[in-house]
């Protein structure tokens, strides 16, 4: 089995697996990371979004081989209770979820947006999150939370 190397949340990682398997499958399976969620398996819902380089991608639709030598960030690498990312703080402040199953993917899409565009407009945020589905109807709270995080990061 070929070995694929990439950096995962800042840590050099090596996986021996069929390179055609999806990144999500590897993350949730052998690597035991349950943050990225399975929603559809075909890149249509965004629940599995992770950041590869500086782009949010659907990890269910990303073959393992394609992240060779790349930087992969999952929700686990975004922040922690002790060191929350401003987005995580803002999502708590705005109570920006109902069930929260989609949130890990949405946070990663939002984080990728803020890497590219530190001061997005409401429309920018909606465009960046348009590949993420939320069934509970928490869209507007999430947009407010992303704008709040951007403002906080800009003020620093």
């Amino acid at each position: 089995m070929p070995s694929i190397r990439f950096r995962l949340n800042g840590v050099q990682t090596e996986v021996d697996a069929d390179p055609d398997r999806s990144l999500l499958d590897i993350l949730r399976g052998p690597l035991g990371m349950t943050g990225p969620h399975f929603g559809c398996g075909s890149g249509e819902c965004g629940a599995c979004h992770v950041i590869v380089g500086d782009r949010a991608v659907a990890s269910c639709d990303t073959p393992l081989w394609s992240v060779e030598s790349k930087e992969v960030t999952t929700i686990e690498g975004l922040g922690s209770v002790e060191r929350p990312h401003p987005l995580q703080r803002a999502f708590i402040t705005e109570q920006a979820l109902q069930c929260g199953y989609c949130v890990a993917g949405i946070l990663m899409s939002a984080a990728a947006l803020l890497m590219r565009n530190p001061s997005p407009t409401d429309a920018d945020v909606r465009a960046a999150l348009d590949r993420n589905l939320c069934r509970c109807g928490s869209h507007n709270r999430m947009v407010r939370a992303v704008l709040r995080a951007a403002a906080e990061m800009g003020a620093q």
């Binding site: 929603g39 075909s42 249509e44 819902c45 929700i75 109570q95 929260g100 909606r126 869209h139």
Partner: protein, 678 residues
């Protein structure tokens, strides 16, 4: 420790229940530990549905905690030698005059709470509550934002195996032949399970289970499917089926009617999918003749009852434990996948098996919200006032939940070699809010009416409970019809409603929404405004909605302005969150959603074929909560759907001059309606 029988389904209920407990006990909310519902220890509170958790569980917790407080005060009084009335409690510390004190924790050893509540301890008055009425942050939000495992999908049990179930693409096709050889050759395979048309695989890994399922699918030969109705003429199908007919309500007028003419309109709504973001998931583990099940079902006891029917073992041999799933909007596949896991785990040699459905199976095989055809006929007098009103519904029943009948309602039960029949959905009685007839009795002061419901006795498309049951369809029909009557009279539709309502709480939400939306803003080209109102189940939350839309061929809902009255809002931000979410979900139903099918297959098997509202399409939503601290609280989760649906449809008329009476309101339906009108 607070152990409710109701479960978290993304609605924030555990936080609201913790607030109620913390208030009555005088402890900080952080001290309240929620215990997940399980048939091993939790009270049997039936199913978490119908916006009833605050009413039922909340009231029980309030009573029980008030009594616990009193029990401890009595014990503290005895220990301290002080009259109980002189004692007070602050975050669990009980203190009295002269700096004497004890606490819940000091007294806990000597007090047994293992007794039935007497209901004799009076709960606090609204003014004395510290947490209820405040927007306390939800207890589950940090875990979800930091991705700490909280969903059943993220749990792992020691030595856990993975299972997948093979389901037909064609509706109710049976498995004629199954070549298992290729599946058995997949690395990690533990077992291929087959019982009639139920077939699945168990593997050491999730990846292996997926691969084995793929191989099994190639080896399967299915019979033809059962015929499905014409998706483009649901009303004709619904009206042509054998039905059970019920007169829901009648009102007769002593006055002789001076009917001048009759107005008759037909409304329809399609089948609607739950379309949870997570596919359903469960785990099961056998130990001899006992089985433990982990599930995101809305009703652990009800699921247990159905599992016992299928397995033919006593309920005592089954433990069903709740773990959160993704947002749940009614009876989805949560219960079905639990039986799948139980059946596959039989072949796992005592190891736990985790089963997760595919996106396609979730979209095809989970029960749908029932399609409806509704006819309203009103007799109008010379002034255009309604003198008689007839409302007739054709629909499948709206509930086929587990645990309610002598037959199981679980999907795999219908697939076994010795199958159980598919349960035909029924409707709860009006006293419980009704089903297809929910919200069909007008709240307006029409002098006479007759409400009739025809429940289908056939069910080619599997239906069961979806948020609001029939209320979304009925409120859509009533509120659009009224809008049309008011418009024909040349009367403002808000004034028309206020003139025909007697309930001040109803009028207050309508007035509040209208004021907030500056009703009725000046007409601009390409913009329209519409209103809708209902009191959910006619006994629950009052909600009024005003929609502002833009559009010509494509409709965009720009803004929704809502006012809601749930009585005492335990967690006002929780209420706002539920109403906002309901309003956006309803917008999605209205503009996009319709289960698609051909003559024998459900074809909307992916998000491409069953699109839902996206971030760029979500309207702005403003919610005013009318707080009434001294009125018993009711739930908020289903209050917005009907009013929002009607408000959007009425705004479409205001904008484009056409009445859309068949949901969803899409470019195609607009073009068809305009052609019909011209």
């Amino acid at each position: 420790m607070l152990s409710p029988g109701k479960v978290e389904i993304g609605q924030g209920i555990v936080t609201a229940l913790a607030q109620i407990a913390a208030d009555e006990l005088d402890v900080d909310i952080g001290r309240v530990q929620l215990v997940r519902a399980s048939t091993a220890a939790s009270p049997n509170e039936g199913v978490t549905s119908g916006s009833l958790s605050i009413q039922q569980s909340g009231r029980a917790i309030r009573q029980a905690c008030a009594e616990i407080r009193q029990i401890f005060l009595t014990a503290a009084a005895a220990r301290l030698g002080i009259d109980a009335n002189a004692l007070d409690i602050s975050d669990g510390t009980i203190f009295g005059p002269g700096n004497v004190q004890t606490s819940y924790w000091e007294l806990a050893e000597e007090i047994s709470l293992d007794r039935d509540a007497t209901l004799e301890a009076p709960p606090k008055s609204a003014a004395d509550r510290a947490f209820a009425g405040r927007s306390v942050p939800r207890v589950d939000v940090p875990d979800k934002v930091f991705a700490h495992p909280r969903f059943i999908h993220d749990f792992t049990l020691p030595s856990m195996l993975h299972g997948r179930v093979l389901r037909p693409e064609r509706s109710r096709a049976s498995l004629a032949e199954l070549n298992e050889n290729d599946a058995r050759a997949v690395a990690g395979l533990v077992a291929v399970v087959r019982d009639g048309s139920f077939a699945g695989v168990v593997s050491e890994t999730e990846h292996g289970a997926e691969a084995a399922l793929g191989a099994l699918r190639k080896g399967a030969t299915w019979s033809a499917g059962e015929a499905l109705p014409d998706e483009n003429d649901l009303a004709a199908f619904l009206k042509a089926q054998p039905v059970e007919s019920t007169i829901i309500d009648t009102r007769t007028s002593s006055k002789t009617s001076d009917k001048q003419r009759t107005m008759r309109r037909q409304f329809t709504r399609p089948y609607i999918a739950h379309a949870s973001i997570a596919p359903s998931c469960a785990m099961a583990q056998w130990n001899g003749d006992r089985v433990h099940v982990w599930t995101h079902s809305q009703g652990v006891y009800l699921l247990r009852a159905d599992l016992a029917l299928v397995l033919k073992i006593p309920v005592e041999n089954i433990t069903v434990e709740h773990i959160e799933g993704a947002g749940c909007y009614g009876h989805n596949a949560a219960d079905d996948v639990a039986l799948d896991a139980v059946l596959l785990a039989k072949a796992a040699g005592g190891r736990p098996v985790r089963v997760q459905w595919s996106r396609a199976d979730e979209m095809i095989h989970a029960p749908f919200g029932a399609a409806m055809a509704i006819e309203i006929e009103a007799d109008l007098d010379t002034q255009g006032e309604i003198v008689d009103w007839r409302h007739v519904i054709w629909s499948n029943g709206h509930v086929a939940r587990p645990g309610r009948a002598a037959q199981p309602a679980l999907l795999a039960g219908t697939e076994l070699a010795a199958p159980f029949p598919r349960i035909i959905s029924s409707n709860p009685p009006q006293a419980n809010g009704g089903g297809g007839d929910r919200n069909s009795i007008p709240l307006y002061d029409f002098p006479a009416w007759k409400i009739e419901s025809h429940r289908l006795l056939t069910m080619p498309v599997r239906t069961s409970a979806l948020r609001t049951l029939g209320a979304q369809g009925n409120v859509f029909a009533i509120e659009c019809f009224l809008d049309e009557v008011a418009t024909e009279r040349g009367e403002d539709p808000i004034k028309f409603r206020l003139r025909h309502l007697r309930d001040e709480r109803a009028k207050d939400v309508i007035r509040a929404a209208a004021q907030r939306a500056n009703w009725k803003p000046e007409k601009k080209p390409g913009t329209g405004y519409g209103a809708g109102f209902a009191r959910y189940k006619n006994t629950g939350a009052y909600c009024a909605a005003i929609a502002e839309i833009e559009g010509e061929q494509d409709i965009r809902v720009k803004r929704l302005t809502l006012a809601v009255d749930v009585g005492e809002a335990i967690n006002p931000d929780g209420v706002i969150n539920q109403i906002e979410g309901g309003a956006i979900q309803a917008t999605s139903w209205v503009l996009k959603e319709r289960v698609r099918f051909d003559s024998e297959r459900i074809t909307s098997s992916s998000w491409t074929d069953y699109p839902i509202l996206r971030f760029s399409e979500a309207p702005q939503v403003q919610v005013d909560v009318i707080q009434r601290s001294d009125i018993e609280p009711v739930g908020a989760g289903e209050a917005a759907h009907g009013p929002v649906t009607a408000a959007i449809a009425n705004a479409v008329f205001d904008c484009l001059g056409v009445r859309i009476r068949n949901l969803p309101i899409t470019r195609d339906s607009l073009v068809a309606a305009m052609e019909l009108a011209s």
